[in-house]
């Protein structure tokens, strides 16, 4: 049985469709209920919905053999896993945003508010920039408005939230998309099944890429 951790929400539903198309369907997952675990012994799969930021933990610790996690989570927590495919969905970017008209003064320590402290730390270390890191858990956009920080490092999808709060992207840190990840030991012992899933999804991605 292959245990697959999917992120709860729209992204999870989109990627489940990919697994289904690859031949690993589990009809019960579409039932409207509050169950979190769904199994289809015929296809040898067990899916479970988990919080998107927890998928990598389930996979790293072996509770799930494979899973789908955003690149943001992989960069932030650096789990010891295999990253098998870029699923080309859930596309967004990790960016630095600031109030419109902001001018960075390199003589000053830059105050950075973010949920993604590891990504921000690595980004500014690569630039050799001294920063004052402020870790927040949500509503990051209001930090520069209230003077808590100079800039924020956050995920930007359409940019609507930023615009509505008079912020703008000043730098892209890294592009983000959903990735198919695998536990290192499971990859050894359930290799055939994992390769079948990965190849099935890779074939779909290739077909989509070739479509005009």
């Amino acid at each position: 049985m292959l245990n697959i951790a999917l992120p709860k929400g729209r992204l999870g539903e989109r990627v489940y469709a990919m697994f289904e198309k690859a031949g690993f369907e589990c009809p019960s997952i579409k039932e409207n209920n509050r169950k979190l675990i769904f199994e289809n012994p015929e296809c040898g799969v067990r899916y479970f919905w988990v919080k998107p930021s927890d998928v990598a933990i389930y996979v790293e610790r072996g509770a799930a053999d494979i899973g789908v996690a955003g690149k943001d989570i992989l960069l932030e927590y650096e789990p010891d896993i295999y990253e098998l495919l870029d699923l080309k969905t859930g596309i967004c970017r990790m960016a630095v945003a600031a109030p419109k008209g902001f001018r960075d003064d390199p003589r000053r320590t830059l105050k950075v508010a973010t949920k993604f402290t590891n990504i921000a730390q690595n980004y500014y270390a690569s630039l050799g920039r001294e920063i004052d890191m402020i870790h927040l858990n949500g509503s990051i956009e209001i930090a520069p408005i209230l003077g808590l920080s100079d800039v924020i490092v956050d995920i930007v999808e359409t940019g609507t939230t930023l615009r509505e709060n008079d912020l703008e992207v000043i730098e892209t840190v890294v592009p983000i998309s959903a990735r198919l990840i695998a536990n290192r030991a499971s990859y050894k012992f359930k290799n055939e099944q994992i390769i079948r899933v990965a190849e099935g999804i890779a074939a779909q991605l290739q077909t989509e890429e070739q479509q005009p």
Partner: protein
């Protein structure tokens, strides 16, 4: 006194079996202090699995560390022998480092071996064979992933990547991340043809015979072909059923060279054995010797579990206030001698489970209940 295997936890049993194995191959036990000067670890930070080290100041004012690693200390204390002779040692030590999963310090039981000196094909084969036998002693369902860093280095040199790009590509190789590897190559203007060479190496994963065929096709020059031949010559002496060639085994290339490997057993989600050839570390320490070794991380074995005891004790012996203590003692000793476990008391503790409940009375011992 004979100790039954069932009395020992999986990790305790493994320690005895591994020590016995390494001793049979002529490895001598290496005993060391729990502490080492912190300076050793600062100078070789990248060699460590985790760079967080527990430090303290000793009575002479020196900054000391609780050992986060054993190999560094053994390598530092090794001596180059004039005749190129070998030093073969094994250890059974606790190390202290931050565990990857919990992000907290942990005491980790580690058993391993090091072979230092004039390392030849036999030594490499012997160490790999001992790695295989170590895994066999832990579980019949195991896999040893083996890689060759010189082959990876040759491919990276030949595709012409920048030093910064090289570091990123090595990370991609470790994660089997073909998509980002291709993107990094494209970003550096490396042709699709040369990128394909790296992708071919990353995808070259499987049984040695298949991997050898694929690798031989990658480059036709003498350096490549002879490195491939040496690598598979060594692997051919191992049981191919449980060996996989996998270039995602990437140890720090500033310290390791040649063959590197990781061992997995079914039921444990991460590698429990890790090792390789570390001539470059020896060179950094100004030693002429080469070296190869591995460590088995026994803390992980708890996940395999031991067979749970059905009952806390075989026999619970009840006795009342007026009973002669020597009669109770005699009964208890008789039960212990018969190979059963026993607990005596005036009342049975609420959560205690027992196979058989006996009562010591003035007239003798009577059975009250039997769960067997």
């Amino acid at each position: 006194m004979k100790i039954s295997d069932t009395m020992l936890k999986t990790e305790e049993l493994a320690v005895f079996r591994l020590r016995d194995l390494y001793g049979r191959y002529g490895y001598a036990q290496y005993k060391m202090s729990k502490f080492e000067e912190y300076d050793l670890y600062v100078r070789n930070k990248n060699f460590l699995i985790s760079d967080s080290v527990i430090t303290f100041t000793d009575t002479s004012g020196k900054l000391m560390a609780l050992k986060p690693d054993v190999t560094l200390s053994i390598a530092k204390n090794s001596k180059d022998t004039a005749d190129g002779g070998l030093q073969k040692v094994y250890y059974d030590e606790n190390v202290y480092r931050v565990s990857a999963g919990s992000h907290a310090y942990k005491e980790i039981k580690q058993v391993g071996l090091e072979c230092m000196g004039d390392i030849d094909g036999y030594c490499i084969g012997e160490v790999l064979s001992l790695a295989v036998q170590s895994l066999e002693k832990i579980s019949p369902d195991y896999i040893l992933d083996v890689s060759h860093l010189d082959l990876l280095s040759l491919v990276l040199d030949r595709i012409g990547i920048s030093p910064a790009g090289r570091v990123k590509l090595v990370d991609c190789v470790a994660q089997k991340n073909l998509h980002d590897a291709s993107a990094i190559c494209a970003g550096e203007g490396i042709s699709a043809e040369r990128t394909e060479l790296l992708r071919a190496l990353m995808q070259c994963c499987g049984r040695p015979a298949d991997a050898q065929k694929r690798l031989k096709k990658l480059f036709s020059d003498e350096v490549w072909q002879s490195t491939v031949a040496r690598f598979f010559g060594i692997l051919s002496r191992l049981p191919s059923k449980n060996i996989r060639v996998d270039f995602s085994v990437v140890s720090d290339m500033n310290y390791y060279n040649g063959i590197v490997f990781q061992g997995f057993v079914m039921g444990i989600p991460e590698a429990i054995l890790s090792g390789g050839q570390y001539d470059l570390l020896m060179k950094k320490m100004e030693k002429k010797s080469g070296a190869i070794g591995f460590a088995v991380y026994l803390d992980q074995l708890e996940a395999l579990g031991s067979a749970p005891n059905e009952y806390d004790v075989d026999v619970f012996l009840l006795y009342g206030d007026g009973i002669d203590p020597s009669a109770v003692q005699k009964t208890v000793e008789g039960i212990v001698k018969s190979g059963k476990s026993v607990r005596a008391g005036k009342t049975v503790p609420e959560k205690l489970t027992w196979r058989c409940l006996l009562k010591q009375s003035e007239s003798g011992v009577e059975a009250l209940e039997n769960n067997a």
